[in-house]
Symmetry: D2
Subunit: 136 residues, 4 copies
């Protein structure tokens, strides 16, 4: 993915939940974030397919980040999810889950994002939207 | 919790995502399910607190089950989440996350549930609602 | 409904959208609001039944109010909806649509509510949840 | 709007709720629908601005239609909303509210849509998503 130039200084160390599930930041810029998660057997549910919560947590993760980009590792911005809606649209059968989030609006106190989850085959697995607030 | 009598024949083996995160069924009956998750450091986010996705995935799990109770281990019913909304209300500081789901309506093809996440201290962490469909 | 004692000084004049559709406040107290709407032909959709938007707008209305009760007509509090989710559960066939909203959490800047829509026959038509912010 | 060619045979008579509020179909094609609503004083709330429910009902309307296009007035398809989430992003100050809906996925029984509400000035007022089922 040569077209992605994620400033390495902006990449934070993966937090514990990232490490436990295996997802990581791939792109982060003004109003946009992308994270990826290698498919693994431990992510599956009662039916042997990806647990619905995996879509939701990946959407929550990229949406939280996409409204908090500053471009400066010394100046960090923090957001908290207020409300998150995930729609479960298709079944992903690729090897990598790709979650992308976009900030679509907001002001000084709150922001709004949308997200989608696909795989490297281009299948749409889920869409999401959320409202967030900045931590003061 | 002596007041809970979950028929052991109904308890399915934990599926992979359950084992990986540590949540398990505590109660399951007509239109109701309860699962619990011991708090652990690997569930935390960028801020050192429970990742929002954990609330969402626990709500999704109990809501999926609560519409599929049959009381008969030989007759299993299956549901798929169509849409899931989670509201992030409070911060849990207890040792056990408790997710409860209720079926509130539906018919032969679709059903609707609500859920809440608390801890053993009684704090309300999140509420959720979802629409589901039965797998044929 | 003798058990409802809504202080008449708290009842605001119906705003234009209320007048146009016919809904009115029936009860309003700390963390709770109830509004009613007489069923009318002009509320129906392509299928001759209540338009889904009617459920959503009634839920939005009671949830907005229930977080803004002060008990003092001189001190008014104002809220704005950030995100609203409505689940369409059943078809109402009564003569009066009843919307009730409850505040379930929040702090100084944001609040969270739930709502349900029934009719005088007790049928559940819809449930809803929302995140809100106080206007400063 | 010369670029829109809505087959007049496909335009259904406005249903009662449309007539009462004044919104009408502007475009309808495979997986897409657009409706418009002239701003009017009777659409306003307690704060003298557009009632939040207006955004929600317009989103619900276009999303319902966009999954039911057949291109043949003799063959009609019908959908019912299961779950609708609306995010309230900005305040519209134009003269016409424009709601657009897109079907983003689904199968034989259920479908998923997204919508946005803007005005003729290009301001984004709301986004929405929903899950729907086809009426059999």
């Amino acid at each position: 993915m040569k077209d992605i130039e994620l400033d390495p200084r902006l990449v934070e160390d993966p937090y514990p939940f990232q490490r436990h599930l295996g997802f990581y930041m791939v792109d982060w810029r003004e109003d946009y974030a992308r994270m990826e998660l290698p498919m693994a057997e431990f992510l599956t549910n009662r039916y042997g397919i990806l647990h619905g919560g995996v879509y939701a947590l990946m959407c929550d993760s990229v949406m939280g980040y996409c409204g908090c980009y500053t471009g400066d590792p010394e100046t960090r911005k923090f957001g908290m999810t207020l409300s998150l809606t995930t729609n479960f649209i298709g079944r992903l059968e690729g090897k990598t889950l790709i979650a992308e989030g976009w900030k679509v609006g907001g002001g000084r106190r709150n922001y709004f994002c949308e997200a989608k989850v696909t795989d490297e085959l281009g299948t749409l697995g889920a869409t999401a939207s959320g409202s967030f607030r900045y931590r003061s």
